[in-house]
């Protein structure tokens, strides 16, 4: 399989110049690089510009409800562990309406990669503030400036217990592809925040600003150190890309497998009559 094998023949509806095109490109390459078989790969998204992505990828795909990509992805993964399950979506989708699922998916270390295309705005609904929009920004829904502090999605993911957290910039296709490949291969919940500019509602400047601020993570960064990772997410003038955090801990599937072992041991599955015995009074 190479990257091209993952291209569907549907034409993206994105605005010319949207950062999501580059992300899509990385998705093609990363799926190939990670050795995924298209028919054993499931892409799940919510609703938003970015959430249109699964439609452009030749795998099983599910463009679901605003904010609900993660529960659906988790259900799919638990039901069919053999599949590679990747959830994708926007900052609003994942951090506003979908925030609770993000929190619990990270905590449970669910075996999926979650790719957030962060444009610091609600793109599809035409430019309202989202959880990553900088404080003070004037948007359609914050006429006098955004009153809320912006979330750093990576800091949040680390705090919530994600076992792999990285930041990328869509303008850097090669770097993003590498990160995505590692995210897909990670054993557990891998969160990849990709800054992906919205040319329409944040203008050309966002792209330039981001490009100017980005720098690669120092090679000597200790990825197992939460504090070290949080130092990068706390930076203001630069934007460090790369793997910020990576630890190994049991995943949801590990735990469920253990539960199954405890429940059944090496016994065959119970028969109907064995279950009904529970209700027998004699």
């Amino acid at each position: 399989m190479n990257a091209n094998d993952f291209k569907s023949d549907l034409k993206p509806v994105w605005c010319p110049g949207c950062g999501d095109f580059a992300v899509l490109n990385s998705v093609y390459r990363a799926l190939a690089a990670a050795g995924c078989a298209p028919h054993e790969t499931v892409l799940v998204s919510g609703i938003g510009c970015s959430s249109r992505l699964p439609g452009y990828v030749e795998t099983y795909g599910f463009n679901s409800l605003h904010g609900r990509a993660l529960p659906i992805a988790i259900g799919a993964k638990v039901a069919s562990p053999r599949m590679t399950v990747v959830a994708v979506g926007g900052d609003g989708d994942g951090l506003a309406i979908g925030g609770n699922h993000f929190m619990h998916a990270a905590r449970r270390n669910v075996d999926i990669a979650y790719i957030m295309m962060d444009n610091e705005i609600y793109g599809l609904t035409k430019g309202q503030a989202g959880p990553t929009t900088p404080t003070g920004d004037k948007t359609k829904s914050t006429t006098y400036g955004n009153p809320d502090p912006a979330i750093d999605p990576c800091a949040l993911a680390i705090s919530l217990g994600a076992s792999w957290v990285a930041r990328g910039f869509s303008g850097d296709v090669k770097g993003t592809t590498e990160l995505m490949t590692r995210a897909i291969r990670h054993h557990g919940f891998a969160f990849l925040n990709i800054l992906s500019p919205c040319v329409t509602w944040r203008g050309e400047e966002q792209h330039k600003e981001l490009r100017a601020k980005t720098r690669a993570i120092p090679a000597d960064h200790d990825v197992t150190s939460r504090e070290a990772a949080l130092r990068f997410t706390g930076e203001h003038d630069v934007l460090t890309t790369g793997v910020l955090y990576e630890v190994a801990r049991p995943t949801l599937l590990d735990e469920l497998a253990q539960i199954e072992r405890r429940a059944r041991g090496s016994a065959p599955p119970p028969t109907r009559d064995q279950i009904l015995q529970l209700f027998q009074m004699r």
Partner: protein, 565 residues
């Protein structure tokens, strides 16, 4: 129900009223008698007043108890709490502590003082000793039940309880009521199970391998049961962070090929409205069991009502085809759940099963042999060259693949989409897809004519009801017909799509119609009006709030007052 007896045991937390009822029910089930057992609690989280009511018969039971033949009261202050929800027959015998005299209103009944507390610390065992002797319930079965029940508590506890039971048996107040010879019946032992357990077992029977849920009264026992059993059969049971995630995970699991279910009560069902629409438009099977309780909002979590009907039928914006089934009793909870999976899998849509607290949490004897039901498998599309996930077909059902199948890949979504699953905002596509999705309902209506009809063949009065009201209505119909009336009832077990032609035929056959339901807003009646023609001026409605069990005499009174008059 001539050969039936009913008694209640009422006490405070620690008195063991509920355990006492359990033990007798277990003993009777073991002996092949038929039992129906309900419980009630005060508002206290624990340690408040509780009551246990057991109805026993040698013939199958269809409805919970109407009135008590015997009553054990450990404290009349507790009894007062349940008074308005508990009827006593004129020859009811009341057992009570000597130092806690019965209130004046019970003066007409035979009241017998028993020093329960003095006789043994396990005063509930004393009570069942007395009741067992009074109704001639085989002592060896009760003893076996005590041993089974306290197995994990160790020998000393068992011994103490057996002893107290013996004390009760020996305590023989002079000339105690009737002995029902028939209660000594020894047929095949029955299973004793609750409606929630029956639904959960139904899920296993249907091949469910994935359950996601969030606890909520009175449905949580389904979660508990499946948390125990699904891992043993290689399935998975996941408790999610909320109901939005639960139904989301079900849709995801089903998309990935598993038969998947969630269970909840009204508040959870309300939260699932949006995902219901996704399951419908993306045509992904899902099964949702709603064990109804008193509403609206948090309402009365511990009591039964039939007021989630509207939400089940109509919730979710847009034109959203879904199937709604309703079970009538414990055994039916099994069958209905299997039907739900069958329909969901075959027709690729959401199926809601409406149960309620009365069915879900009561215990009934069930015949193991009746717990069989054909199981339908999802029609998996063979990989074809030009695979169209949402191909237009006659019955609206399109070939479905599941992740892992080569050449079966497709994109699905909650946006309107074309036959390939690609988003489309074109009117023509929307109209055709709406049509395709709704055609499935016609096919289902055709195949699944699920209803019960009982009573006179050419009835004067026809009663329409659904769900847990069916048993009580059935008993009322039988009694009225026994008294020379000509009554029949029609109970749809599939509420959407309604078996409209059969229902209309039944209605047209009757001179008068009585609709019976536990919804203040008369949801069932209003729904019926929208789907069939009820005779104007000759239709009466008995619709009241839940929170109190529907009784046979209530139905009979309505039949007489509202209809016959």
């Amino acid at each position: 129900m001539e050969n039936a007896i009913t008694f209640s045991i009422v006490g405070s937390g620690g008195d063991g009223a509920v355990v006492a009822g359990d033990l007798i029910a277990m003993a009777c089930a073991a002996r092949g008698l038929h039992v129906m057992k309900t419980e009630a609690y005060g508002p206290q989280i624990r340690g408040g007043e509780s009551s246990s009511t057991v109805r026993i018969s040698s013939a199958p039971l269809v409805a919970p108890a109407e009135s008590n033949d015997a009553l054990v009261v450990f404290r009349f202050a507790d009894f007062a709490r349940f008074r308005s929800e508990m009827a006593l027959s004129p020859d009811c015998v009341v057992f009570h502590e000597p130092n806690d005299p019965p209130p004046a209103e019970l003066a007409a009944l035979r009241c017998i003082a028993v020093p329960f507390g003095e006789l043994a610390r396990e005063k509930n065992m004393v009570a069942i000793g007395i009741l067992g002797a009074m109704f001639d319930i085989p002592g060896d079965e009760i003893r076996a039940a005590i041993k089974k029940r306290f197995r994990k508590k160790g020998e000393t506890v068992i011994e103490a309880n057996l002893k107290a039971f013996g004390v009760g048996q020996a305590f023989q107040p002079a000339s105690l009521g009737r002995r029902l010879e028939s209660l000594r019946y020894t047929g095949t032992p029955h299973l004793l199970m609750s409606g929630n357990e029956a639904a959960a077992f139904g899920a296993l029977h249907a091949g469910c391998t994935f359950f996601a849920g969030y606890p909520i009264t009175p449905s949580s026992e389904i979660l508990h049961f499946l948390s125990d059993w699904l891992p043993r059969i290689g399935g998975a049971c996941v408790q999610t962070e909320d109901e939005l995630a639960a139904i989301g995970a079900v849709v995801g699991a089903s998309f990935a090929g598993a038969k998947a279910m969630t269970a909840t009560s009204g508040p959870g069902l309300s939260l699932m409205a949006e995902m219901l629409g996704l399951s419908s438009i993306a045509e992904i099977p899902s099964v949702i069991v709603d064990v109804q309780r008193g509403g609206p909002s948090t309402g009365i979590p511990t009591k039964s009502e039939q007021s989630d009907l509207f939400h089940a039928l109509y919730a979710s914006h847009g034109d959203t085809p879904r199937v709604v089934l309703a079970c009538c009793d414990v055994e039916d909870a099994f069958h209905t759940t299997v039907d739900a999976f069958n329909i969901a899998e075959e027709y690729q849509l959401p199926v809601i099963v409406l149960s309620d607290q009365l069915i879900g949490q009561r215990r009934e004897t069930v015949d193991a042999a009746s717990l069989v039901h054909d199981v339908v498998q999802r029609r998996i599309a063979l990989p074809v060259d030009e695979y169209k996930r949402y191909a237009y077909t006659e019955d609206g059902v399109s070939p479905m693949t599941i992740p892992g199948i080569e050449h079966g890949m497709y994109q699905t979504n909650g946006l309107e989409h074309d036959e390939l699953g690609r988003p489309s905002s074109m009117y023509v596509v929307h109209e055709q897809m709406n049509d395709k999705r709704h055609r499935k309902l016609d096919a289902i209506a055709d195949r699944y004519r699920l209803f019960r009809r009982f009573g006179a063949e050419h009835p004067e009065l026809g009663i329409l009801c659904w769900g847990s009201s069916a048993g009580t209505v059935r008993e009322a119909v039988e009694r009225m017909n026994g008294m020379g009336a000509s009554v029949a009832a029609f109970v749809p077990r599939i509420l959407a799509p309604l078996p409209a032609s059969e229902l209309q035929a039944f209605v047209d056959q009757c001179e008068r119609i009585l609709v019976v339901e536990l919804s203040h807003a008369a949801q069932f009646h209003r729904y019926l009006r929208s789907e069939i023609d009820l005779p104007r001026g000759r239709t009466a409605v008995l619709a009241r709030s839940g929170g109190k069990t529907l009784t046979v005499s209530e139905v009979m009174a309505a039949a007489v007052e509202k209809v016959m008059a």
